[in-house]
Amino acid sequence: MLCTPSIETVYANSHAKVQLEYENKTHHTAERGHSCSFRPDVGTAKACFFSGSMKRLHCAKDAPHPQLRCGQRRTVEPLEQFRFLRGKETKNQPRCCKEFGTPPTIKNTVLFVPMNEPSWERAKPGEKLQFETVLQRYAASLRRIAFGYARTKHDREELLQELALALWKALPSFRGECSERTFVFRVAHNVALAVATRRRARGEANATDPNETLDGVASEAPTPEEQLTEARRRQLLFSALERLPAGQQQVLMLALEGLSHEEIGGVLGLNANVVGVRLHRAREALRTMIETKAPTAPGENR
């Protein structure tokens, strides 16, 4: 069965610069922290997709790259290229795809080039991490964490500064017992939670900024019939994340960041099964929160 051209969204996290090509023609480049959509208008494609972040590639059974058979995961190295030409739709989604919640639809032909960026999990035991390098590498992720924990712009800027300071303090103690990414996310979430708790202690949790709160977003929508703009949807998502209980908020943010259950477990000190249960509950809670606040777009079944 041939694939139908479709719009694909790809996310580049703080580690990757991604170039998407279709039959040797660049369609889009996703920089750090950006997402992009591309649409191959011609041809067919082999099933190949990303797991939400650029860390791993998952491919269908007939992927040409010998190291990327179904069910395998591997870290993508800088300047590593994968080319997938011509493919077909796979009806039976491989198990590895379901794990990451990727929809069972055909994906597009891409040339995947993480460019000039260091690979993940690079730190070796005993290796010292440079503050500026780490900050540069994780700036987008830290910013998203700030967005998930703080409601107002001022609070977000303050939190981002606190996160940077915490990393500066904590990096000398990093001995490579866990991956660099686990360490950075652990520090960042610990600090963000501490700041949120202090704010709660000061009684600022109920402070409202009509332009930036979840309620504000929902009430700003011109009419219930109008579709939420992308920006509004993002605000809605982050506001909902900020209101979730701490345990659910963290697990959800880490999963959205593209961390596997094992990695999330490493950050939070939980086992992967518990992460799965928490994530399920967190998704339910987030869905409910968004559904109760966001007007339904026309023709959209939420």
Binding site: F147, L160, L165, L167, A170, F183, R186, A201, P245, A246
Partner: protein, 201 residues
């Protein structure tokens, strides 16, 4: 919308740019952080040296001429500095390294720290009140002992004892406020811990 579509959409939204947000100036952030870090180290050094300064001051007074009020005040000062330094060490111990701990351990440590802060502010409040009582008792004795001097220059009594009372009152106010803050913080950490424990773990 299927569950996986929804997840993809959330992921896209999560990773997307927020138009109203100004981009992060990394070099500025890094610069501010390093400046702030240096300031923190200086602040810690100044606090420690301040404590040592207080000890040196009262030791000097004791050696110059020990009488009952000076012995009492010096004793209180030593107790204060000792308690304060042990609190500082207790709270700061491993605090920079502790940032990389797992979540539960971090929350429990934070709770323990805020309880320690609570204890410290209680102690500091009581000690400051004792100081104030001592100064109140000491002032008439001093005035009586040096009545010729104070009669000639009454401003000395006003500035000296008035200043001491003002400082002690400010300290009491500060400790009271910080005690309340520490109490609220400890309660907030307790709630956070309970919230985390209510989740599967």
């Amino acid at each position: 919308m299927t569950s996986s579509d929804e997840w993809e959409r959330w992921t896209a939204d999560f990773h997307g740019e927020i138009p109203s947000e100004t981009p992060v100036e990394l070099h500025l952030l890094s610069q501010h952080t390093q400046q702030q870090g240096v300031r923190l180290r200086w602040a810690l050094a100044v606090e420690f040296l301040g404590g040592m300064g207080v000890v040196a001051f009262w030791t000097f007074l004791l050696f110059r001429g020990a009488n009952a009020p000076i012995i009492v005040m010096a004793g209180l000062s030593y107790a204060f500095v000792l308690a304060w330094l042990s609190y500082l060490l207790h709270v700061q111990r491993g605090s920079w390294n502790a940032l990389g701990q797992e979540l539960f351990a971090h929350v429990e440590l934070s709770l323990r720290r805020s309880v320690a802060a609570l204890r410290w502010y209680r102690f500091a409040r009581v000690l400051t009140a004792l100081f104030a009582l001592c100064v109140a008792g000491w002032a008439p004795m001093m005035i009586h002992a040096h009545r010729a001097l104070y009669a000639a220059e009454p401003w000395r009594a006003v500035v000296g004892f008035g200043g001491a009372f003002a400082i002690l009152a400010a300290c009491l106010y500060y400790y009271e406020r910080e005690h309340k803050r520490a109490l609220r913080e400890a309660e907030a950490w307790k709630r956070t811990l309970e919230e985390l424990q209510s989740e599967p773990h």
